[in-house]
Point group: D2
């Protein structure tokens, strides 16, 4: 199921992250709103030299299986800088996936190719502030109205990752024919970044922005796919993108676990290494169990996606289970490191902050539990012989 | 990986449990110390008529893979009576596995054959009271000393499942040449059941006994395998037997979940079905996630065992994760059913009690975490590039 | 705040439980559906000889403060038989409290006096099966219709603790003038015990019954208090009765903790006493913290009740916090004792079962969280300056 | 027990925090390494004008009771800037307490008076890096050797809160006569701040520093108290200082809860306010319970300290229970706010970060559980009649 090519790539990614990416973590350019573009460019050039940019996309533009992607992206995530180096970070990875499925040949040439090559970044304009589309997409307030051959869009968006510095954006808006996606170049004077949010996480270049769209005028060929199909396309992107989040942060959590294990081996208290204290050893054992379970959930969901299924429920289950498991891992690692754990002397502190945010991004656990319960209700009438 | 034969058997087990086994759950013979032998015989006769006794053992005595066993035993566990009906309950299932690996042809003929056929029961004399062998097997107090061609065994055992009514026992004792296993017929006047413990669980025929062994005289051909290899054989039995516990109780927990889902659909409070209350719906969603994770852990560990590996660490991880997940499931089901959940009107109450005990049987979580931490310590020196 | 008299009584209760009640725990009359009446009579006679029957009710019929009651009932609960010995068990304790507030002089003479003296038992007919009154009392199906000077009651009740053997019952039914309480002698041919439920708990004499009321004809002076005030009276009984549950089970959990501590001191594994393993020592430390927090919640809520407030929200908070904390304590104790923990060799196994049921009785945690959230919503508009 | 004066002060602090301190939270001077000295001075001047600087210390230098302190400091913590405004933040509050008990009149005049007046800051040089004194103080590496009438100190310290900018330091070092405290003015060329750590929390002016002490020469009158009594003095400071941490962060967590409640009331999803979703309402109910329990633990421990007891075990219990409860509260608040919860748009994000660090500061939970288990072991032999 895993090709030799993928296995070989995995080994090279593993080595690249450890030898070439990790040393950059303490670079001063890796700061509060994420690493500078400059730093990303530098690391990515190294990945490019090794043929490791977008390693899950083949030369012909097709993707390896989701299951293989899981292997590669978990390895990439071993450093928070890894996904940036390899060009598999959010939101670009998901945007590439969606454009590969829906974009026209011309759109692909213009936007997707430089994106896959790692020369540009992109944004996904979905979430809205103040009672607009969030966990409940039906509340969308951004409107696209037709004006001859053009569309004019007005609205506000928030938490738009990577908008600052992106070369293009997928913009979701409602029209008379239903929710519709548009694909347009950035910057654009009608798309104003009101501010970049100050957030607990700091791994994503460009951070997360609040955006005002005022009289954005787009031509018909800036529609992405078909008018009125926005929610359907969102579903295409949804489960795979959600799962790649799980993959990347799994890598980071496993790194935190390795650091904590190493620390527990070297540091002594009350006459013996920390790891010989059951209070610490049990936490590390629980980490191993949580990481294994998270890995199995990712692989299971990837297998479902590889059958061609939408995987909505499966990716909800995986998102809840994985994000909560990885957070427990990160939290235990902080605890084991003590004072060092709350300082930026190791990447554990960042892992903790990023994974806390991950429990919110792509839908908080509560929204997933809510939709799983809805589905269960539908299925429950079929239960018999209990 | 799963043969057509196994898939077909699975479907038949599924139907058999629902149609023929579940109706027996409320039989008055299914009481406090487990179902009566009489009841077991009656249900098993039905299984035998369908060719479903020991369904994981082929006609030639070989076993299907552990992964296939997982499918069959999870289905069996859908009723607490299912494993008894199908002759895959503890400790017999594990004893059959071990005897298949270690017994002589003569021992197989005499003891294993009737066991596999479901005509007899067996016991495994390992755990000891009062500071003897328990979580720490090195504390074994039962002694076998050589006397000419014979062995004479003295000691005490406790928590010996199914001893009352068993046709044979595997007895672990220490000798000058190391821990040794013996296989002998029961009853035997030198093996006295002091009392059957009154325990929180009630699924196992014969219950759990406290045993006194006084001057038990065994011949050389009652040694099981080789003298001094007792701990090695215990390891052979350990991981697979531990995993079949996970399989069976998974089935029971999934049953409890189905009952709770059904109840939440039918019962109303505060103007709507319970399932429409997020407080209940979220618990059901968490059940689904826990059951899926437990299933994946079981399958993963089974795959490891199918490679021929000992799987000690993997089965420790699976035991902790699965027993704790299933307990959360059972606990939530009790909570959803409210008053009904703490009464024997459904099998949920029994599931809760059985799975609480399961968190202790085959090693409490703490002992597994302890051994996982030990292993991690050994591996930790190999961590590099973090 | 605590009188000398109460302190002195506390010391005597403490000694009585340890010296005279605990030895009865292993009496064979202390079985599956609770201790036999015979056994209760025998222990209570000993309490009576010491002046310890209903120790929280003064000679003049008045009650000591709720805060003092907390001291006495926590001590009583140190054995599951203690509350029976002292006549402070549910539902009688709550019924005595309510009758003291609402009953007529004649009702008190006839029903309350022998109850307080510990010569009779009583029942509280509230909860209903199959979509009737449960967590949501507004769903009540039992009806009392007026017929001249009499009332005729029809309906079904379930989970009626102690009905089997009770000398009187408080019956809740709806009338044209609203929910109404009745007080009547038992047995009565119009009140049929359909069955005694088989439940996970086993401390309450008479167990929990399913009841059919068919054409129960009561006279006007069998109304308790005023017609139409049933829900108001239920509120009077509610919070104090709920809190005495917390008190009694606190005692039992603290007993389980003492047993587990003692066991961890005596039993060895891997070369040292269990208590020297952090895996065990930390659980015991958490028990101490949980017990302390539970004690503080009980005392706080008792203080609120002693001001004369209804304490509905406070007793909801206490019920959730205390029942969940005590369950964690009991669960840890089972775990520490291992195999012994799931057997009836100590009272820990019973503590675990009883406290699991306690998480349901008097409203499952979810119902309390639901009502607390409702209250929060009302209060939230008042939040300012945040 | 609470004087009218304290009650009145409490009301004034409450109003001051809401009206005058909270508006400063978004001041740009309130940044990554804590608020600037400039900002602290500005807010404190306002507190001084209202007579609210060090409100728990009376004009004669004596302290109000610990129980009263709890009221005042919980109110102060309602804003993370509150304790700075009122001069009751760590480490100064604890240092003032200790100096009040141990310093000479001259030391008080020189160091304590300006500290209490809120004109200077102080530091407490205890924790060491790399295997020195941390959770286990016996590992102390900093050495003071006698040289005539002077002492010469060498060593390294880490996580020294507020060192950068402090006017004085209490320095712990080991001598031939045992651990000893010194009190000396800062800055001093022999005390070098190697770096200020980049930490997850950001409320403390000066942040947390790594310090090198090289040939620090101190006179005999720079000894604090008596030579060799360092650990005893550390104990005097320990429990009260630990408890004031609990008080302050309780205030911050209660603020986060108010913000989350307010948000849940205003924000809608799936057709109703968030607070009407049980998934959210139950989290808020749990917050209320956790806050109440934390408050009761603080008050209980304060009462113990007010009896004059050392309160070591009680403050360990309080620290574990309160820090873990407040973290659960903060984590739930983040979750309720969703994307807003991980941004600095509200103080919830900071509360989450600060309280995560609090679970480490003054001893991680594991160290407290360890010492509680040690104590339990000593007490366990006294258990009888179980």
């Amino acid at each position: 199921m895993i090709t030799t090519e993928t296995r070989e790539k995995l080994a090279r990614i593993d080595a690249f992250i450890r030898e070439s990416v990790i040393p950059y973590e303490k670079d001063p350019r890796n700061g509060g709103h994420g690493p500078s573009q400059d730093l990303v460019d530098e690391i990515r050039a190294k990945a490019r030299a090794l043929g490791l940019v977008a390693p899950h996309i083949r030369a012909d533009g097709s993707h390896v299986t989701h299951r293989e992607t899981a292997l590669l992206l978990r390895a990439a995530g071993y450093s928070p800088l890894g996904p940036l180096a390899l060009n598999v970070m959010a939101p670009d990875e998901g945007n590439m996936f969606l454009l590969g499925k829906v974009a026209t040949a011309e759109q692909k040439r213009r936007f997707l190719e430089p994106l896959v090559a790692g020369h540009t970044r992109s944004a996904f304009f979905m979430t809205e502030p103040d009672g607009g589309a969030g966990s409940d997409p039906s509340m969308m307030q951004t409107v696209a109205r037709q004006d001859g051959n053009h569309w004019v869009i007005d609205g506000r968006k928030t938490f738009i990752t990577g908008a600052d510095g992106a070369a293009c954006a997928i913009v979701m808006a409602k029209t008379d024919q239903g929710a519709t996606m548009f694909l347009t170049a950035l910057p654009n004077p009608a798309i104003r970044i009101d501010r970049v949010l100050d957030t607990i996480d700091s791994s994503m270049p460009g951070g997360h922005s609040v955006i005002a769209i005022e009289g954005l005028r787009l031509s018909a060929d800036e529609v992405l796919g078909e008018v009125g199909q926005g929610f359907r396309y969102a579903q295409i992107r949804l489960a795979p993108a959600r799962l790649t989040h799980c993959m990347r942060w799994w890598g980071t959590a496993s790194r935190a676990h390795d650091i904590a294990t190493h620390y527990a081996l070297k540091r002594h208290a009350f006459g013996k290494p920390l790891i010989d204290h059951e209070g610490v050893g049990f936490m590390l054992a629980d980490n191993e169990i949580d990481l294994k379970q998270a890995e199995l959930m990712i692989d299971w969901c990837a297998d479902v996606l590889d059958t061609g299924a939408a995987g909505t429920a499966e990716s909800s289950m995986a998102k809840v289970a994985v994000s909560e498991a990885l957070f427990r891992v990160a939290d235990r690692c902080v605890q084991i490191l003590g004072g060092t754990g709350v300082s930026r002397d190791t990447v554990v502190e960042q892992a903790f902050r990023e994974i806390r945010a991950f429990r919110i991004y792509d839908g908080p656990s509560e929204v997933h539990r809510w939709s799983l319960a809805k589905r269960l209700k539908k299925q429950a009438s079929a239960i018999s012989g209990i």
